[in-house]
Subunit: 352 residues, 2 copies
């Protein structure tokens, strides 16, 4: 059983009691970090091999679940789990992972991807394999009633970012899926502030929870290429400064939007502004586009109360060049608009 | 290979050629009826057993795919396939079914359900099992370019009905899924008329095709009970008169809406009218509700040009009592509002 450090004891005690009543033995791995580290993965994989673990139960949010998935794969590999993350060794099998979700954010509960950090190399890398997809996930909104206001806000920003990464593409848009994504964005915008004010509002927590899973379980992709823009940039922030992933995304996303907005992209922002924020469709596309970015910023930084700049979270420009280089992996980030190293560095500077 | 009688030869020839080039042997079962009959299922199952078929390839719309699924299950059963449909014998296994979809309508390509008719007993019964879910479905919108205007319209009505059967419930609504369903309804309302006017409009066909699969693949259900209203009533129409399923649903649905509309249900119709047809949310719920039913009728009977009454398709009241009895199975249809035999008979009469 892998669990997050902040997990309330109530749920944990209940689960352990139920498992033990069923005559099953539990080996615990506690203290999975936010931005989970490969060192924890190796520790977990060691326990799995030594104790011949049959099933990994992940109780927590995305970090715990990501770690559990990677532990499941690493249990079948004798070397350093980092080899699997960097794809220098293949994932050949994975222990079955079962999750009990306690935070609506990453959507890890319903896909085969894990993002693992290496503090020695300042790397944060996503690795995905269908074998790593959880076999069962328990999504009970009441298990998120104790999530703090800040984590609720960061989780909402993460969900919104997952949807926007798919929504903003120049090609292969399907009207139906755009309608679905716009409905999901309106859902998160409606319910995140309610969940922050009323942490035990079931309706709000249920909507956020289901939105978190759908945002990144593959449903929204249709015929699109999976080319993301903000996540590769944010992964460097978390890797270098270990900041909360959703917060990093909230800070970067409006700046990325300002950077990529031009005559060729304004039409998609116009659609976004009208269908998500109810802006007047008869206005000039560029006017609506700019207003839509303002409204998203306002939602992140005023309604959700998230810090609005990198300097506010103690990040300066010292590593921007190296971070931009890593984000581009020597080429370009080939998302909505291709971003080269200069583009990425510029977006980091806009976010200061 | 099971195929619909109306299938263009182009696709059929192409598939047979590719299969034979791959060194595989094909045994054909042609002429699957709309409202596929258990006699065809038994015929197909016989071929499967005799020729030791490994995979069933269904090329067609919902009828062909439903038949293929049931053939797959019946191939593992020595008796009459009707026993499986009526659940007097269990489904123990199913040959793998692969589909090439040629009609956006029933959504059979992405779920484990089949609806089979028995002309001897005037029964049309749905049977579902996860084993019967197609292993792979090929959804190429260009394969629906030759679908007639009438079949496009009937298919659109079928898709809309599948969504409405889930959308209209009194309990367990999830805002996010309502947003998704409203977006899908707007999608079908936008693109069905375009596909009728421009049969080779890829965008229109793609949207209808993906909507057909999502409408009934389980995505929309969330925490709801699966209690449907119009389908049980329509199945009797098709069973007794062999009419096109989507057309039957189009005729019944607005009458069902009129029948169940009251002070307790008006709020859901108000939501439907505002979010799907853009009606003014500030108007009285009952006013919006009635207008929304008018607009749906107008869409079915004017925009799509479907026949608007049972008498127009040659159905009179002769069998209404027996049909209502069968639809209620001796109890009530426990959908949005419970419908007893008198309710169902009344809705049939309103549809005359």
């Amino acid at each position: 059983m892998a669990e997050a450090p902040s997990k309330g004891r109530g749920l944990y005690d209940k689960l352990v009691s139920e498992i033990e009543q069923a005559g099953l033995e539990v080996f615990e791995l506690s203290g999975i970090e936010p931005n989970p580290r490969v060192s924890s993965v190796n520790r977990g994989a060691g326990i799995c091999r030594q104790e011949q673990i049959d099933v990994i139960l992940a109780v927590g949010g995305g970090s715990t679940i990501d770690a559990a998935k990677c532990i499941g794969a690493a249990a079948h590999y004798d070397g350093d789990a980092w080899d699997l993350v960097t794809r220098t060794a293949p994932i050949t099998d994975c222990l079955p992972v079962v999750t009990v979700l306690t935070l609506a954010a990453t959507g890890s509960e319903m896909n085969g991807t894990a993002v693992i950090s290496n503090t020695e190399t300042n790397d944060k890398i996503g690795v995905g394999d269908p074998l790593m997809r959880p076999k069962v996930s328990f999504l009970d909104p009441t298990n998120t009633f104790t999530v703090s206001s800040f984590q609720t806000a960061s989780g909402a920003a993460d969900i919104i970012s997952h949807i926007l990464e798919v929504y903003f593409s120049m090609d292969h848009d399907l009207y139906m899926l755009d309608q679905v994504m716009e409905g999901m964005l309106r859902t998160v915008i409606k319910y995140a502030p309610i969940a922050m004010k009323e942490p035990d509002n079931y309706e709000a927590r249920a909507n956020l929870m289901w939105a978190s899973s759908w945002a990144i379980n593959g449903f929204l992709v249709g015929g699109k290429q999976q080319a993301w823009s903000c996540h590769p940039m944010e992964h460097q922030l978390s890797a270098f400064y270990d900041i909360t992933h959703g917060l990093g995304l909230a800070i970067l996303t409006p700046r990325w939007m300002q950077h990529v907005l031009d005559e060729t992209t304004a039409c998609k922002f116009h659609q976004f502004g009208c269908n998500v924020f109810g802006l007047d469709a008869s206005l000039e596309p560029m006017v609506v586009a700019k207003k839509s970015i303002e409204m998203l910023s306002d939602f992140f930084f005023h309604t959700l109360g998230l810090e609005s700049s990198l300097s506010q979270v103690g990040i300066d420009a010292a590593n921007f060049t190296e971070m931009a280089q890593k984000a581009c992996k020597g080429g370009v980030i080939n998302g909505f608009k291709p971003l080269n190293q200069q583009d990425v560095e510029s977006i980091y500077r806009m976010s200061l």
